[in-house]
């Protein structure tokens, strides 16, 4: 973390990848411009950063890259508001500001030696991509048990990270289940909503943790399925989204009950959330 937590450091856009057929989601591959910034930016999957477009503002994004890829950070951005709109107009060579890493990230120490079941939907998959690539990295793979990834989108063309998905399919040490709400010609994955697919895949809760990340409705319907399969509240982790500004638990905006999503989260176990107020919606 930087000395002054409000001041971003510059990063250059190296590549802009259009992820989805509707072109609403782009991934920005950024490179550090100063070695000192890279050295300070030590992160774990599940953490996020505030990305600045100078003159427009900043918005929080989970790192879609993993710390096993040195020199780069990637952020997937859905064009939805003012900052994300401005980001979508930027190109290779442009400079953005970044401050972070922020938030707690996934509890990797706790996950070690366990089977992992990652359940993601749509755009919410970005930090699960980070976690998957982290676990699959040759230096880390032996630290974790079986890896199951369940990932869905409304249409096949709205799934992100096509290259990674292809690579994981052939890699063999990850059980990948892709699903689309609606079938299309040539689609070989599941058809149906993520919770249903989770039920049919029926991951074993023994010695396992589940991580759920996606739109609120998907989370809402996936949680009971996981419980039905035998996952306890302390075995289920969620990554929450709220409107954020400061990212360091001061501006008072993103709390769920007594906890700030930015600084106490964004990753919470279902057991932690159950202890908070009814405000968590899950």
């Amino acid at each position: 973390m930087m000395k002054n937590p409000y001041v971003p450091f510059p990063m250059r856009i190296e590549e802009v990848i259009v992820e989805t057929e509707d072109e609403n989601i782009k991934t920005f591959e950024l490179s550090f411009m100063a070695e000192a910034d890279e050295k300070r930016f030590l992160y774990t999957p599940g953490q996020f950063a505030e990305v600045s477009v100078f003159g427009t503002g900043e918005a929080p994004f989970g790192m879609a890259s993993t710390p096993t890829q040195p020199g780069r950070l990637s952020f997937s951005v859905s064009k939805i508001g003012v900052v994300t709109g401005a980001l979508h107009r930027m190109e290779k060579g442009d400079v953005v500001g970044v401050r972070g890493p922020l938030g707690n990230g996934y509890p990797l120490e706790r996950f070690k030696g366990k089977n992992l079941v990652l359940v993601g939907g749509g755009f919410g998959f970005s930090t699960l991509r980070s976690l998957t690539n982290f676990v699959l990295h040759e230096c880390n793979r032996k630290d974790f048990g079986e890896l199951t990834v369940i990932y869905g989108a409304r249409r096949p063309g709205l799934l992100l990270y096509k290259k990674d998905l292809e690579a994981w399919k052939t890699q063999g040490d990850v059980r990948l289940h892709l699903t689309a709400d609606r079938a299309e010609n040539g689609w070989q994955g599941h058809v149906g909503f993520v919770p249903e697919v989770t039920r049919s895949v029926a991951p074993n809760p023994r010695n396992a943790y589940a991580v759920v990340c996606g739109p609120p409705a998907m989370i809402q319907f996936t949680l009971p399925v996981l419980k039905e399969l035998g996952f306890g509240d302390e075995q289920i982790y969620l990554s929450l989204e709220m409107r954020m500004k400061c990212g360091i638990g001061k501006c008072g905006r993103c709390n769920v009950g007594s906890r700030y999503v930015c600084s106490d989260g964004p990753v919470f176990s279902q057991a932690e959330l159950a202890g908070l107020t009814a405000e968590s919606h899950f």
Binding site: F54, V96, K250, C251
Partner: protein, 343 residues
């Protein structure tokens, strides 16, 4: 900590203030039109110590309503960021009320805890707090029910108590003791100490306690989904005046002022009472109506902050009571939330 007591005769106050003004920025109660505000002074004659309380809390001295966090300048492939230099001189908050001094303790926890806020802490570390005890609290005051008191020294480096021809000055800690080294102060005597004690007791006795449950924090948790919130929030306009005037409210927004080429990132006060505060770009708002926003304000002050910071987010200054345009009285809210059983 041993409290140190001395006497400050009223005729020696201007001299003290003159010496302070030479060394520091001094902020004190002054009259602006018909109202009292805490403002920087450049002459002792501007200070008005015979007052009830300032219209605004003094939090802006440490946490300005608008401040520049950094300036930026960009050209293609480049971005330079520059942070403005910090406070050059130390500050004194002189003659603020004990409730407001106590409010600083909560701000200290929020801005100083976890990832420390360099802008607030830079100003705070060089600030001396000299508060003035209240002999006659306002009818809207309820500091005593919030764990403080009209003559509480919590959050003050020096607490002054008006004894008629002079002030009894009580110092807590090194900063306060250092101020009492000034030539304006003289040794205290038994009579003054007795008089001060009597003043304190009288002031406390004049206050009406707020009828509320002892374990309000736990009670509020149980009442999160209670239908009572809807009734309580019914008349609230979501205007946010309660939060702007509050000595402990600290929510803020970060905004850009300028163009893509040059400008600054600013921090500006915000309020949990505004609908856009939590509105997400997708259109989803976790606090869509006044009920949720009103509940957030109360829960934050009386449940979340006690849990996370060990302090209430209310010092009982009563500004939200006197300035609310629809006469919503937070004391009555606390009483309502203490009545009957959670539903």
């Amino acid at each position: 900590m041993i409290a140190l007591s001395k006497i400050l005769k009223k005729q020696r106050l201007p001299g003290l203030l003159e010496r302070l003004i030479k060394e520091r920025q001094v902020f004190a109660p002054v009259k602006r039109g018909e109202i009292i505000l805490i403002r920087e002074i450049d002459s002792p004659s501007q200070v008005l110590l015979e007052y009830k309380n300032a219209k605004e809390s003094p939090k802006a001295v440490l946490f300005p309503q608008r401040e520049t966090l950094f300036r930026y300048r960009t050209e293609r492939g480049k971005a330079d960021v520059e942070v403005p230099s910090g406070a050059a001189r130390g500050r004194v908050l002189f003659g603020i009320r004990p409730c407001d001094a106590r409010g600083l303790l909560l701000l200290d926890k929020v801005f100083g805890g976890g990832c420390s806020d360099p802008y607030y802490m830079d100003r705070r570390n060089g600030t001396l707090v000299v508060s003035l005890g209240c002999a006659e609290p306002n009818p809207s005051c309820f500091c005593l029910s919030m764990g403080g008191g009209p003559c509480s020294a919590e959050g003050s480096d020096v607490l002054l108590l008006d004894l008629g021809d002079g002030y009894l000055a009580e110092a807590a800690g090194e900063k306060g003791a250092a101020l009492l080294e000034d030539q304006a102060f003289e040794e205290s005597d038994e009579r003054s100490l007795d008089l001060a004690e009597k003043t304190k007791k009288q002031a406390e006795a004049s206050m009406k306690p707020v009828a509320m449950k002892e374990n309000l924090e736990g009670e509020l948790e149980r009442r999160f989904s209670d239908p009572v919130w809807k009734d309580l929030a019914e008349s609230c306009l979501s205007c946010g005046i309660c939060t702007y005037l509050c000595p402990t409210c600290h929510c803020f927004d970060l905004c850009e002022e300028g163009s893509g080429q040059a400008g600054e990132r600013i921090r500006i006060w915000d309020t949990c009472q505004f609908p856009l505060f939590t509105q997400q770009a997708s259109g989803f708002n976790p606090r869509p109506t006044g009920k949720e926003r009103f509940r957030q304000r109360i829960m934050h002050k009386f449940s979340y902050l006690p849990e996370t910071q060990g302090l209430l987010g209310c010092v009982g200054c009563g500004r939200c009571v006197t300035e609310c345009p629809v006469n919503l009285d937070i004391r009555e809210v606390l009483t309502s939330l203490s009545e009957g059983n959670a539903r």
